[in-house]
């Protein structure tokens, strides 16, 4: 972890402003912000990026990202991104969304943006809970998981089952790249970085919609220490939300990914 996200290293990430994160200790948002910023630096895209922040703990992503960022109403980043990308088709446009934002109030927007094959990327941070509003059940909350609004643990008969958004999106032809990863170990952080970079690449090569779901920690709302939270990701989340690439563009005979689709 030292190598990737040490303060010294991040101070060099031009795509991050030189301010301290406000996130709780052990929260995954800071790590994921940093990964995204480093990728954008490495791809040389800082001046060609427009990001859409969600409503959730990461609403103030614009305080940290040192590139153009707009806020959007709760759940609507994919619609806002659609408007932006259609006006600036050559920019890297990505949404950064929590599981309440994306998988509850914004389900319609994410499915339809994905189904239109919008050339945007979504970084979907799944911490299995509503962080900003103090830890209520999210659509992704695991069975048995206690939250403010499932004090006895989520019960399938009462609250339904955790929603696997990626698996739902995988059937849509407009969706070109889907992967799930985590940030609970340094190795996984590195993998997450590779996957998000691939997702951006898919967007820039005009293949269609791309998205990476990142399983993330919320020790504060889970009522755990930061270390216990890492175990929760390992022992509870990963078994239910399997990691890896779920969908990627077809390779052509030269081993390269698919034909570019016509620009919108």
């Amino acid at each position: 972890m030292k190598d990737m996200i040490s303060p010294k290293r991040s101070a060099k990430a031009k795509s991050l402003k030189k301010v301290q994160f406000h996130y709780c200790s052990g929260c995954g948002h800071g790590i994921i912000h940093r990964i995204v910023a480093e990728i954008i630096d490495e791809m040389g895209l800082r001046e060609n990026t427009i990001a859409i922040a969600p409503v959730g703990c990461s609403v103030i992503a614009y305080e940290y990202f040192n590139f153009d960022v707009t806020e959007a109403a709760h759940g609507r980043p994919p619609a806002v991104a659609t408007g932006i990308k259609r006006i600036h088709p050559d920019k890297l446009v990505f949404t950064y969304q929590g599981d309440g934002d994306l998988a509850a109030i914004g389900t319609s927007e994410i499915i339809h943006a994905a189904n239109r094959g919008e050339r945007i990327t979504t970084v979907f941070v799944n911490n299995a809970v509503y962080g900003m509003t103090n830890g209520q059940m999210a659509p992704t909350t695991l069975l048995g998981q206690r939250t403010e609004t499932t004090p006895l643990g989520r019960d399938a008969l009462r609250e339904g089952y955790p929603l696997k958004i990626m698996e739902m999106l995988a059937v849509l032809p407009g969706v070109q790249f889907l992967a799930r990863s985590t940030v609970h170990t340094p190795q996984e952080i590195l993998k997450t970085k590779k996957l998000i970079k691939r997702a951006f690449d898919v967007q820039l090569h005009g293949h269609g919609f791309s998205m990476v779901e990142v399983l993330s920690m919320c020790p504060t709302c889970w009522g755990m220490t930061p270390l216990e939270a890492l175990d929760f990701v390992r022992n509870r989340m990963i078994p239910f939300y399997p990691l890896g690439i779920i969908k990627e563009p077809d390779k052509n005979e030269n081993g390269q990914y698919g034909k570019e689709q016509p620009k919108k």
Partner: protein
């Protein structure tokens, strides 16, 4: 050269002429000719037309297009406009130039698809959450729908504020010959120094309506209110006909004002002088112009296709100066000339 067109298509073409290159909307009667027209027209001008999955998505798509710096529009009616309210509040908060069309239909609820003016409060008083205003234009015919829509884009950019074109099902569907002549706009448009297009050669920008630091949100609100005050001072548009020498003054807007033109003629045949005040901007409401023009103890009749919404603004404007009566039809009913005339005759009779 005149072209024969309906209000909905006139609005869509005026938007294209004004440089609107992004439209998103969801079908609802009585405004379907607007998305239909854009679907055909946008590809011709290399613009974008999106039939969105909902009105919520549509308003957020235009939010994005406006943040990206494009002239953009969405349109709907009644239930769909209600769904857009959260987005409109964000657009107003972020001071984005977006043009929104509401071709009003009868409500509340699903209501019906007949013309109505019952979204006046929603349009002029805010509609969504928070202290904000849209500029609201109320065209009375197809020609004016064209002209006002064209300049709506200019005013939206000039004030960095959402603008609503508030019509009704009659205006949307009615065919009339119009001149597609683009009106002039003399005011200098400010540079769009807020748009997000990648931070090449400049500092990174952000667009937000969240202000958490002590006092920040109150200061932001003060900036908005100052702008609204300026708009109120600069932009009140109203047409006044024969108000001075009248027995009864009618106040009406949009389609209803047109009906009242006939009332004026027929009343004059019966020897009754009727004046007409027709607000063209509903917000800012031309309160001062109305107050200055209407004489003490004048007889004023407000006519609307609602239970009496603009009526409240007329009362506030006149501040007890005149005797105000009301005639309204609701739920898609259209006030008839005979009924308005009868009311005018009875008002003239009471002395």
């Amino acid at each position: 050269m005149k072209v024969l067109t309906n209000g909905n298509e006139a609005i869509a073409e005026a938007a294209v002429q004004a440089g609107c290159r992004f439209y998103a909307g969801y079908p609802i009667t009585p405004q379907n000719e607007i998305p239909g027209y854009f679907a055909r027209r946008m590809p011709e001008v290399k613009g974008t037309f999106i039939q969105s999955e909902s009105e919520i998505a549509a308003i957020n798509m235009v939010f994005g297009a406006a943040v990206a710096g494009a002239r953009c529009m969405t349109s709907s009616s009644g239930p769909g406009i209600s769904l857009k309210q959260e987005g409109i509040s964000y657009i107003a908060a972020c001071q984005l130039p977006v043009v929104i069309v509401n071709m009003m239909r009868g409500g509340p609820g699903l209501g019906d698809v007949s013309p109505a003016q019952s979204d006046y409060f929603q349009a002029t008083k805010g509609g969504g959450h928070g202290d904000y205003h849209m500029i609201v234009f109320a065209p009375e015919d197809v020609q004016e729908a064209y002209t006002l829509t064209f300049n709506a884009f200019n005013y939206a950019d000039y004030y960095r504020n959402p603008v609503m074109i508030l019509g009704d099902g009659i205006l949307g569907q009615m065919m009339e010959p119009i001149e597609q002549v683009n009106p002039s706009f003399e005011l200098p448009l400010p540079e769009k120094d807020y748009i997000l297009d990648g931070c090449r050669g400049r500092e990174a920008r952000s667009m937000m309506s969240l202000f958490l630091r002590e006092g920040e949100l109150e200061r932001h609100n003060a900036i908005l209110q100052e702008k609204y005050k300026r708009i109120q001072e600069e932009l009140c548009l109203v047409e006044m006909v024969d108000v001075d020498q009248s027995d009864v003054v009618i106040v009406a807007y949009g389609t209803v004002a047109r009906i009242c033109n006939t009332v004026m003629r027929e009343a004059s045949n019966e020897g009754i002088k009727v004046g007409l005040i027709r607000p063209i901007t509903l917000w800012p409401f031309p309160a001062k112009q109305i107050y200055d023009k209407v004489k003490n103890n004048a007889k004023v009749l407000v006519v609307e296709m609602s239970a009496g919404q603009m009526l409240e603004d007329v009362k506030l404007a006149l501040n007890g100066k005149a005797n105000i009566d009301f005639l309204g039809r609701m739920g898609g009913g259209i006030p008839l000339v005979v009924d308005i005339l009868k009311k005018v005759v009875s008002m003239k009779g009471d002395s």
